[in-house]
Amino acid sequence: MLGSWPSLDPHNFSQFKPNDPSNPSKMTPVTYNPTHDRTLSPPDQVIVPEEKNILLRHFYQQAEEKLQMGAKRALSDNPTPERASKLPRASASDNV
């Protein structure tokens, strides 16, 4: 169809071959080939939408934060109990 249209230079579109239904186009769609493997996704990765909506995610996140704040406070307030709990593992600390 495009081949017979008038154009400025008669040699334009000379290499154009119209679509032949008996000979399907062998063009492959443009794909992205990564040039490095730093950001390769794992081969079995499946992307699915998040089940929980954003509001629920925030509720869960707030609950997590409260737990973590409590745990952090435990670490900062009381270093001695941690050392006490390491006593039974004297054999492991010997190697260090």
């Binding site: 929980k52 629920l56 509720f59 307030d77």
Partner: protein, 531 residues
Amino acid sequence: MFRSNNVAARIFERQISSPAPGTSVHCARRFYENIVPSHTIYDIECPDILFRKFSDDGNYLVTFSRNHQDLVVYRPTWLSFSCREDDCLNRDLPSKASKFESFFTQLYCVTLAASGELICKDFFLYSEKNQFGIFATSTAQIHDAPAVGGAIQGIPSIEKITFHLVRLEDGVILDERVFCNDYINLAHSMGVFLYDDLVAIVSLRYQRIHILQIRDSGNLVDVRSIGEYCREDDELFLNSSSQGMSIPDRNTAQNIGNGLESIHHMPETSFLSGLKQRLLSFILRGIWNEEHDPTSRMQCLKKKFYFHFQDYADLVIWKVQFLDRHHLLIKFGSVDGGVARNTDNHPAFFAVYNMETTEIISFYQNSAEDLYTLFELFCDHFHSSSKNSFYMNFLSTHSNNIYALEQLKCNKTKASSCQQFVKKMLATLPFNCQSQSPSPYFDHSLFRYDEKLISATDRHRQSTDHPIKFILRRQPNTLKFKIKPGPESGNSDTRTKKISSFLFHPILPLAISVQQTLFLQPAVVNIHFRR
């Protein structure tokens, strides 16, 4: 980029350019700025019915007979007439325009309430997918009912509440669910929440949340009952272990409670209900995690938990809504507030509960700033709408609309105290199901209107004699249409208090306004439509 207000120019614009990604509905909605219900037919002759609302897809107008016994459903059509004169557009409308039947065709009239029962005129939930409607009928309320069989003292009792599942296409009653000697808040569908095909019914009297599923075949199926038990097999487990326990302890078990009916039934006085146990252990663990020094931890627990233990244990479920298929937002409060109309002075708490894992995810007081922040940012998600209802996803709230957000911020600065403002805002949670009209005329990006006189929320309002103006939000900020309830010449009697309610069709430029006095005078019904 200048947008023309001319409808022909807009149609041409629509033909040649595609809207920005994700805004196709918003772009299509802008045509509602041009097509407005500007013509009013005052005091239309209509049958003696009580208007409820249009279904959310616009296919049905649901009304009840004045005696609260029958359901009458109409199909909204449009006024059509022929005119042989030359200048048809400027002629007056024919006399049949002032008849209700020109706008609505009656589909059927079905009796829902048996003798002694009345249909709750404020209750209607619509399942868009199957075009099913849920209605409620109840017998009279009994105050000061004795607290027997696990009931809470202080909550009234209704002898029989029936929920009817009706196929609106033809009026066939598909299924019913009866609750006897129970109390469910039916006004404005407060005690029931519909999400997709799941229905949550809050039994205030027995403190249970019944989850039902609406099947495509039209059956109502019990899914679970949360309250006394959390998991489906809790009751079986407790009964089987009580059977093993009760044989040597038979005498003591019979002596314990007067609520004991048989040896196999666990006495109510010995265990707190399953949900209450989840809640109390969540609160305890939260306070436990805050402190790590054993002495200060015990002090903290004594002050924050054990001192208030009985208050926490006495909390009752007030209201429930779905956040998604597995999560519920439950509002707890004291017993007196459960049936009170004004709950501002009663303390209230919110809990997010996961039905599948039976865990409480979070717990907030009604003055919690972090819950208010989530409410301000994600209000849309509290109006949880299922994937099936398309138009309900485009309600104008302060989370998706800058004008509504400005209004909210303005109210916040005007409030006397931040904590009072937060309490007032959070008092609207959990939302009533399907209480917002999806009509584009309530979209704050399109029109500016007085929210005190009219809004998307389905409530009766005080009526004024002045018409309610809808002004274009965008340039040139002109007045587009007015909605005036009541007779054309205004009311002769200005002393009696009048209330108005408005029913907007979700899609067509058609609205009904109903003005009633508090006495038994007939209501004045106006139809507003685009001529």
